[in-house]
């Protein structure tokens, strides 16, 4: 099939997508978006998380055709052209990145959470990110990062309002 979808804000058309292809395989192998990782291939680790219409999905279990006509956000599409998204800044500053393999999926899950809950408490963060495994950090600095990101986004929002 010819797959037409919006990838990181750009309308994308991809010919000859087999019906059994996963969203992960077309992102990595056909389109070269290598920021999305495969950790297990069975939807357990969350390394392949991307946002489909703003909701986190395991792209290793998501059929590519399900993206037709919808918006896909990968880690490559999160930062503004001239810098970093506050979630990315917070992950760097909080020491939430060690090996970095879970980071793209973790950041996207955190971003999706903060879009719907501006100031999540620790339990809400744990629930939202429980599907993203990390073997390095012990998660503490990741929780710190999500809270720091929430504060940054809140502040930016206030600035937007006052500036607008």
């Amino acid at each position: 099939m010819n797959l037409i979808f919006t990838l990181n804000g750009t309308l994308t058309s991809l010919p000859d997508v087999p019906s059994h292809a996963t969203l992960l395989s077309i992102l990595r192998d056909r389109l070269g978006f290598l920021g999305t990782k495969e950790g297990c291939g069975v939807g357990e680790c969350g390394a392949c998380t991307v946002l489909l219409d703003g909701e986190p999905v395991n792209s290793c279990l998501t059929a590519a055709w399900k993206a037709a006509g919808r918006e896909v956000l990968t880690i490559e599409g999160l930062a503004p052209a001239d810098g970093l998204h506050p979630v990315q800044e917070a992950f760097i500053e909080s020491g939430a990145i060690q090996c970095g393999f879970c980071t793209p999926g973790m950041i996207l899950s955190a971003y999706a959470l903060l879009k719907r809950t501006a100031r999540p408490d620790v339990e809400e963060i744990k629930t939202a990110l429980a599907g993203n495994l990390c073997r390095c950090t012990g998660y503490k600095q990741i929780v710190d990062a999500v809270q720091a990101a929430a504060a940054k986004m809140d502040r930016n929002h206030d600035n937007d309002v006052s500036g607008g």
Partner: protein
């Protein structure tokens, strides 16, 4: 001051943006894809490999077998125990062993062909338990081997444990067991290889590029300088990427086909085709006097090393050497034996046998305290190693022994939690305590690191290090060490890392050694560079170089601030004489061999220490254990980067929690994360406080030792101790599954 601050980690920007390229991300269009054909049962004799159907799969280019290996067939991380067959030749020794390698134009063709290979075999009688393997009539995993299935053994004898036990006021005897554990680094093994100027270039994830180079060269029958290994960004290792995995296959296919190839293990292959943590069985007898002084320890340790040696020699020694824990015991008799079996092979995993031994030594000291009616923390402080006391190997410690301080710093937290929770098993809650000692660097062998530091005429400072940063933060920490030494900002230093063409051997990223040993090599390199610059400055300015110092990127003469010069100018003047301002450094900690009969000697130059405490809640209906809180105190010598240290400690605690409560790899049963569970964010306790204790090590860079493995070691014993208190019975077998908790609660476990 750079030391003691936490600048952003090197590489974290690229990782946050999704731009970091890991082993699995290597490859170009047109690369061939490689897939291993693995045996699904063992042991067995291969009668025939039927390859025709696989060769007929469109896109298949070639199928390699053992007959295609141009060089040495046996590889292995330790020089005297190279026994690993990367292709089963005639005998399949463990389930999951590779028998053939498919090279195909696409991944799907390669995987389809791998399925189409038919292995015709005759099954053999195997052995799957360490103690059974050591019995006289056991089937031999490597027939013809002089020691049979005994792969490695370490004996430690100090004093006279047998005699001393007979005079002890209290004795405790118990057995402990642990499970096979899979590292489960989030990135599976992967990489790419190609040919350039008649050399093989491999770019793959690894903890040990210079070893990879040596063993791939042996495998291909090439001089090492015809193999270049470049470390790709590495998504965690924990010991699992110390042995070679994809590298020999990548090298073989690229070399024989003269084409670029790539390979990525699926998670299932990563479970089947890489090493595991050794499962241990530990029988212990501990004796103490009436005041609680530990007097004697007898330990009989056995472990399953699977079909190949990997790090078995190191694990046997490490477990034995650390058998007493961080306590002084005058009479010690430890015998540790590792046996070959037909299970998947076990190798290095974060702590090399010490996390297993810690379950035993901590369980024993809790039991002795209980028998004497002593406080569990007091008995640890009473027996803790101090300067002037000797370890099990007779190593008399001098400085940097922080165990008492770790225990004292954890005391207020422990006592507060104990007061809240109490010691009754009726509440379903318990408080546990655990402590550890860990020797930094390889055991009783030379394990140097080398490094270079260059200052260029255009003002760049370049650190060349062979050390592989696998996410733990060595790039960040090593750069801070150099920045401090040269009095510059760390951001000014560029890194050339872990490439066998551009850097020299730093040894493995293992044994918690890179901060201490590579840090030492870098300080030495900086001193050599500084001396070159001082020499030239002294010549140019006609001053005595004893009066010079480097600061702010300039050389200054003490007492005459007008006579200073920018380092770049001096470096330029060296360049004018065709001299490169480049310092070479090397550091190798001082150790001595262990006596083969008694295990006495100096295995390490320095040790890290730690104490942790935890609160758990046990659901008496379901057996579910929740770890509510953990506090940790770690003597790291000096925290070069406190945020990195805290990250290691929290990560170690979570890996220790997995070892304590959920992780058990059963060969043939577990092959992915759907039934092999590692801790998620929902399992995370409140980890607070994390206390960094700094007892400086005089041979360490700015006093630093190491923390990577120590972070994990006390956690499982701490949690086991807490669960034991909550259920009213000691928990001596890991993982503490729901079934084990229910058995303990109902008395079905037959433990006393």
């Amino acid at each position: 001051m750079t030391i003691g601050t936490s600048p952003a980690r090197v590489g974290s920007l690229e990782k946050a943006l999704g731009r970091a390229r890991f082993g699995a991300d290597q490859g170009e269009r047109g690369d061939l894809f490689l897939v291993c054909v693995r045996a699904d049962r063992a042991p067995a004799v291969i009668d025939a490999l039927e390859l025709d159907r696989a060769l007929a799969v469109p896109g298949v280019v070639r199928i390699f077998t053992a007959a295609d290996i141009p060089g040495e067939k046996l590889l292995g991380i330790i020089a005297v125990s190279k026994d690993q067959e990367f292709f089963a030749d005639k005998i399949i020794r463990h389930r999951g062993q590779t028998v053939a390698l498919i090279a195909a134009e696409t991944e799907s063709a390669a995987r389809k062909a791998a399925q189409a290979v038919e292995i015709r075999f005759t099954e053999l009688k195997g052995v799957f338990d360490a103690e059974e393997a050591l019995a006289d009539d056991a089937p031999l995993v490597h027939p013809g081997r002089a020691d049979g299935n005994l792969m490695s053994r370490r004996v430690i004898r100090k004093g006279d444990a047998e005699a001393a036990l007979s005079s002890c006021a209290v004795i405790h005897e118990a057995e402990y067991t642990t499970s096979f554990i899979e590292h489960t680094a989030l990135e599976t093994e992967g990489g790419r290889a190609w040919i350039e100027d008649d050399r093989v270039i491999i770019k793959a994830c690894t903890q040990n590029p210079h070893y990879d180079q040596a063993d791939v060269a042996r495998f291909l029958g090439l001089d090492p300088d015809r193999v270049r290994v470049i470390q790709a960004e590495t998504g965690g290792g924990f010991g699992g990427k110390l042995d070679v995995s994809v590298q020999p296959y990548l090298g073989l296919a690229a070399w024989l086909l003269k084409r670029p190839v790539r390979m990525v293990y699926t998670r299932e292959e990563s479970f089947l085709g890489t090493g595991k943590r050794h499962p241990f069985r530990m029988k212990c007898i501990t004796g103490a006097d009436a005041d609680g002084h530990l007097i004697a320890l007898k330990m009989d340790l056995s472990a399953d090393t699977g079909a190949f040696a990997s790090y078995a020699l190191a694990v046997a020694t490490r477990a034995a050497v650390h058998g007493t824990g961080p306590y002084y015991i005058p009479h010690v008799d430890i015998d540790c034996r590792l046996a070959y079996t037909n299970n998947p092979w076990a190798g290095a995993m974060r702590g090399f046998g010490v996390p297993q031994a810690a379950l035993a030594h901590e369980g024993q000291i809790d039991a002795i305290a209980d028998k004497l009616g002593m406080d569990r923390l007091e008995i640890r402080v009473l027996n803790a190693l101090r300067p002037g006391l000797s370890t099990a190997t007779g190593h008399v410690l001098s400085g940097s022994v922080g165990i008492v301080e770790c225990l004292e710093r954890i005391r207020p937290v422990y006592e507060k939690w104990l007061a809240e929770v109490g010691t009754s098993s009726k509440t379903g809650r318990g408080v546990g305590l655990g402590a550890m000692i860990y020797g930094i660097g390889n055991t009783s062998v030379s394990n140097p690191s080398t490094a270079q530091v260059e200052w260029t005429p255009d003002g760049r400072i370049i650190l060349f290090t062979g050390a592989a940063d696998i996410g733990q933060g060595s790039d960040t920490v090593l750069r801070q060490i150099l920045a401090q030494r040269l009095d510059v900002q760390p951001e000014r230093i560029s890194l050339v890392r872990a490439d066998t063409d551009l850097t020299t051997n730093a040894g493995a990223t293992s044994a918690s050694r890179q901060t201490y040993i590579s840090g030492g090599a870098i300080l030495e390199a900086a001193s050599v560079l500084e001396e070159m610059v001082f020499d030239r400055f002294a010549e140019l300015m006609e001053v005595d170089q004893l009066d010079l110092k480097m600061a702010d990127g300039r050389i200054w003469v003490t007492g005459s601030p007008a006579s200073s010069m920018a380092v770049e100018e001096i470096v330029q003047s060296l360049a004018d004489q065709n001299v490169r301002a480049l310092g070479n450094g090397r550091f190798d900690p001082t150790t001595s061999a262990l006596d083969p009969e008694t295990g006495q000697g100096v295995p390490y130059a320095t040790y890290a220490f730690a104490a942790q405490t935890a609160v758990v809640n046990v659901d008496r209906l379901s057996g579910e254990v929740r770890v509510e809180r953990v506090a940790a105190a770690h003597d790291v010598g000096r925290a070069i980067n406190p945020q990195c240290v805290e990250g290691q400690i929290c990560g170690g605690i979570m890996m220790g929690l997995g070892m304590a409560l959920m992780e058990e790899f059963v060969p043939g049963k577990h092959a992915n994360l759907e039934n092999y569970h590692i801790p998620t964010m929902m399992d995370m306790p409140d980890i607070d406080p994390v206390i960094i204790v700094e007892c400086p090590e005089e041979t360490g860079p700015f006093g630093a030792k190491g923390v990577g493995e120590p972070a994990l070691i006390p956690t499982a014993p701490t949690i086991a101790s807490a669960v034991g208190q909550a259920v009213g019975k000691p928990m001596r077998h890991l993982p503490i599954s729901l079934e084990r908790v229910m058995e303990a609660l109902t008395g079905a476990d037959n433990e006393d």
